[in-house]
Amino acid sequence: MKIIALAAVCAALPTLAAADVSVTDPWARASILASRPGAAYLTLESDIADRLTALETPAAGHVMLHDTVTDASGVSRMHHIDVLDLAPGTPVTFAPGGMHLMLMGLTGKLEEGRTFPLTLSFEHAGEIMVEVPVLSVTATGPKGAE
């Protein structure tokens, strides 16, 4: 029985593998006040052209994609990104000072040392759930990158 099941999975794999997005190095900065938006960061890479269409987490009411753009005079503004397109084999990195996931309406403070689930929905790859570790308020990158 097991072998048959395995064979069935293997048969299905090529189609699954054709639309695979890897979500790596997720982390969020601990929040100081639950009333303020939080920020999370991660890296996405897809085998094929795909599109991130939705983000959801029980940690926040709403997750938005934001890009911080700093102009030549040093003025920073946040831009809202509606959809994020992934080009095959080109990683997209969210990092401080650039793109971030803005967690709006936190259901509680993001406490250092905890994790929270984040579900990303892709047009082709479907839903991917990752656990996001909460790092210190002064963290500037994922664990091990500093």
Binding site: P37, G74, V75, R77, G97, T138
Partner: protein
């Protein structure tokens, strides 16, 4: 990292200052126009670029004390303008300032990191107290009335603006300059840079050297 040999990313700073001068020039032009149209008897504001960055304000700190820039006489000051609803640039920059403080070692007692809000309506004294305390025990949070904050920003040549955004909390966010200003113990402007210009360690080393060569003035 855009680092030059002296570690300060001077070319970037210079570019930033030219840009600031540009902004100042536009502001000056607008001020002249406004003045010409409304109050012709007022003296023209004097804006002379770098030298015009002045450490002057009257604000309330996170403990509720009314302070002026003179309150920090004798201390090197790291000054950053931001707001607590800012999820990315502001905590990143304040974390950087906290790292600089930690890497200064004993020299840290001669440096005060200062966070001035550009969103005083939401960043009350209590909010500032919770916020700065989370970054560094020596960090001072300053807030005030809209007019007091505007005056502080004007003196530092910091530009900020309320940007309406229906997707943001309370329907708005703030656009603002992300510079960190280094003010000398005599209160005068010394340097300006941004978080990405040099690693915290490089900046802390340079600041340590400055502290040692200028001696303790407090």
């Amino acid at each position: 990292m855009n680092q030059t040999s002296n570690g300060y990313g001077l070319s970037r700073i210079r570019r930033g200052l030219w840009a600031l001068t540009g902004v100042a020039a536009v502001a000056l032009g607008a001020a002249f126009l406004w003045q010409a149209l409304t109050r012709p008897d007022l003296p023209a504001p004097r804006v002379t670029g770098e030298a015009a960055i002045t450490n002057a304000y009257t604000l309330t700190d996170h403990t509720g004390q009314m302070l002026t820039a003179d309150s920090f006489d004798g201390q090197w000051q790291l000054v950053f303008f931001g707001f607590t609803h800012c999820p990315d640039i502001c905590p990143t920059t304040l974390a950087y300032m906290a790292q600089v403080m930690d890497k200064l070692g004993p020299g840290a007692t001669q440096v005060t990191p200062i966070f001035i809000t550009v969103d005083p309506a939401r960043d009350t004294r209590d909010v500032m107290a919770a916020y700065v305390g989370a970054f560094h025990p020596r960090m001072v949070g300053l807030t005030g009335t809209e007019a007091q904050v505007a005056e502080a920003a004007r003196n530092f040549r910091v530009w900020y603006e309320r940007a309406e955004d229906t997707t943001a909390p309370d329907g708005y966010t703030m656009a603002h300059s992300g510079h960190i200003y280094l003010m000398a113990p005599d209160g005068r402007f010394f340097d300006v840079w941004m978080e990405g210009d040099a690693p915290a360690e490089t900046f802390a080393n340079n600041l340590s050297t400055l502290i040692q060569t200028t001696g303790s003035s407090s």
